[in-house]
Symmetry: C2
Subunit: 472 residues, 2 copies
């Protein structure tokens, strides 16, 4: 968790926000959004929207009416209450990379991710002091059959961590099963709907659509009062307009559609305004998440969500690089510093990803954890008071002394951040020849070999295993 100090200024003026909002409302009324699920269209129609075929048209007044019902923050509960987090509160809540089908090894080779990788990344995320939420598709366990992935992923989250969990967005059945498993993990007999215990990621289908599976999962979560992140991943220049402002406007229509549906299903259910949109690289036709333009998407998205008083999700520690190299370092620092500086409430993709959202890397995960910790320290700013300006020490030492022996030095030297990964040794040190990726590899190995899972009640463990047997 990283305290939100909004150290970066707003990118949008009040005028900018008004224009984006006005244009969004015109698109809602004139162009509409395709909703590929009959039940969802009925919900919209029952609550005052105009439906034509699969298209839903929302008058601005209706959008505003339902936006008013969204809670500005909510607590996501963990099985260990010490690990509960408030999303939309005063801190940025961080989750690791999400959805990658591949793992990139240290030599740069690429392979399909497995359930063992899933377990390992769960352990790394649990061990991190900076990461708050795990579960979901931390990495895609391609060696498991599709119908058992969601419950096995949930189980790994329970087995190796007591932090809050993400669920499944793959249709009604899987969403429900993830909620049921989360309820068992919390030690309850019945399915929990009195408090948020599992959050899931709902993606739009750009431009201007939602598919059936996502709509089912969205509504299922809303019914049980479980939070969702509604996010667009628009590629500006390909699935969206070629300008940041235009794609932000298109995204606004898409995301608000899901947000409003959640409130029509269950007014007051927690929901997060999300984005993974960025530009397309004009040479490769691929996403460019390590771009400075992406940092602007982060800022504009966070600001629009705050305008609507809805918690926001976006950003991450992400890169277009294929390996844990210099580019991965500078791009991830740019995107994560923007995520925190602009005040994102919930940040998926905070650790581990390479090649936009395609591959997880153990070394990158450990490097990103260092980036999170550095940004956290920077965002805290500095304390200026009679003690810290240190007049007495300055006068004691005078013109030719050394501050190392000053009592204030001994007292405060622990205040400086000590890096976990970064090398501050000299060219003559033993470690001089080790690059970041090599040091990260060693650090990762030691975290995994020292890992101790938090205790899990054997009765709950048994129930989870029974549940998995029954559902798969």
């Amino acid at each position: 968790m990283i305290e939100q100090n909004f150290l970066t200024k707003d990118l949008l003026s009040e005028e900018d926000i008004k224009l984006i909002h006005k244009t969004s409302m015109e698109i809602f009324e004139e162009t509409g959004v395709e909703i590929h699920n009959e039940e969802a269209r009925e919900v919209f129609e029952d609550h005052g929207a105009r439906v034509e075929g699969e298209k839903v048209f929302l008058p601005g007044s209706l959008v505003e009416e339902y936006l008013d019902k969204v809670p500005s923050s909510f607590t996501l509960h963990a099985r260990n209450p010490d690990n509960n987090v408030e999303i939309g509160g005063s801190s940025g809540v961080l989750a690791p990379g999400y959805g990658a089908p591949w793992v990139t090894d240290m030599d740069g080779s690429n392979r399909d991710a497995t359930y063992e990788d899933y377990e390992n990344f769960t352990k790394l995320a649990h061990a991190s002091d900076n990461l708050d939420v795990l579960g979901g598709v931390l990495v895609e366990p391609t060696d498991l059959a599709d119908e058992e992935r969601h419950v096995k992923m949930m189980y790994a989250g329970a087995k190796y961590s007591d932090k809050p969990l993400m669920g499944s967005a793959l249709g009604k059945k899987k969403a429900r099963e993830a909620i049921q498993m989360a309820s068992i993990i919390m030690g309850e007999e019945e399915i929990i709907c009195d408090r948020p215990i599992v959050i899931t990621l709902i993606n739009t289908t750009s431009p201007l659509g939602y598919d059936n599976r996502m709509l089912e999962a969205l509504m299922e979560h809303a019914r049980f009062n479980q939070p969702t992140v509604i996010a667009s991943l628009i590629m500006a220049g390909s699935t969206g307009p070629v300008t940041v402002a235009g794609t932000i406007t298109l995204q606004n229509v898409e995301v608000l559609t899901g947000v409003i549906l959640s409130q029509m299903v269950n007014p007051g259910t927690p929901v997060v305004y999300g984005s993974a949109s960025t530009i397309v690289d004009m040479n490769t036709g691929d996403l460019a998440v390590g771009s400075p333009e992406y940092a602007k998407f982060i800022g504009a998205t966070a600001q629009l969500a705050r305008h609507y008083d809805v918690p926001c999700r976006g950003g991450g520690s992400i890169t277009d690089s294929l390996m844990t190299d210099g580019q991965a370092g500078y791009e991830s620092m740019m995107t994560f510093n923007a995520s925190m500086g602009h005040g994102m409430d919930f940040v998926l993709h905070s650790a581990g990803l390479l090649k936009n959202y395609m591959a997880m890397s153990y070394e990158k995960f450990v490097m990103d954890d260092e980036i999170l910790d550095m940004v956290n320290n920077y965002q805290k700013g500095l304390a200026v008071n009679e003690e810290t300006v240190a007049k007495e020490a300055i006068q004691n030492v005078g013109h030719s002394g050394h501050y190392l022996k000053e009592p204030s030095t001994i007292e405060h030297m622990k205040d400086f951040r000590v890096p976990a990964l970064s090398n501050r040794k000299g060219f003559d040190s033993e470690e001089a020849s080790k690059s970041t990726v090599e040091r990260a590899h060693e650090l990762c190995e030691s975290i995994l070999s020292d890992f101790e899972a938090p205790p899990l009640d054997p009765k709950i463990d048994e129930k989870l295993q029974d549940y998995m047997d029954r559902t798969t």
Copy 2:
């Protein structure tokens, strides 16, 4: 040059600044600063300071009186007027790494820097669209005799570039000779004192002192109306208090001393408030410039300088890493983004450095140039207007089209930044196995092999060579 948009918020409150200023004035009056040059002490005494032995004590009123004389901005002239820069204006002016005695090669091996390296880095700095000022100790040419280094460095700056130049701070004679050579480069017969043509870096001796050579160079520059950067490099916890606030206070006293001396010598002469201070790493006892604490030094220094209405220098694209790896990437992005976000007017060390200020690297130089360009793009923010929100394109494409064919896409796709170094290709591309440092190496080779020096008037070239023969 990077437009200053102050995208990052102030770290210090008005109260914080008041306390730092008040404490600084108390140290000025009660503790004083050691000035190891008799002439400088006489200047202080003649203008109302109290002098005891080598110590100079300044009453607050005197500090404020002379601070009022400092120009809030000035133009540094180049031999090609198109390359003139305003320091303290609306853009951050960038210069490459300064002062490194070593060069680190791609394999991580470290060697003494040579004059050939000096020439090569001059070419790279000239070729960069982001770097504005070069010369000075771009790298230490250790294969040249000490007495000829400053003129040979100046000559390389003239031969391979027509951008503004830095001079020498190594005593009165060398400072004068650099000013004389800069005058010849400008095509003048006499030494120029009607406009700034060469800027030099004056360092304090912490804590609370100035050595003889630096004082001589400072006064010589002031006499000829040539700008200086007065900078502290305090190591918080060793040569300064262990808190950022305390070291900022100590630095304030040190830097203001030099700033005031420049104004006593020549009221209105251009001067820059500078800092390279950072924390000491408590495990190694070495500087930690890649730390988040360093980013706070950048912010606090820039803000104090603005409070005094004096142009500021600090920051850079710097790292503690020994090679062009992930750490070099994330640390350099953190420090450079802070430098621009906090509105530094002049940034030394913008490209090439490894291991704080100790080693230059060709690959790091090229990587940093990419970082500068990314930060430049980000700091520009985004344009929101009727055209960019792209309502027409959104409605034309609707729910299932593609934006690539939209006329607005073709018109605006060139607006997205195209990286010079960063890889956005996929795992199946030919370049997939090349890391950032390898790609930077190739890019650097091609810049150097394609390099064409801007034309230099043969008469001026001859005069410079004559001058070098006479002085060395």
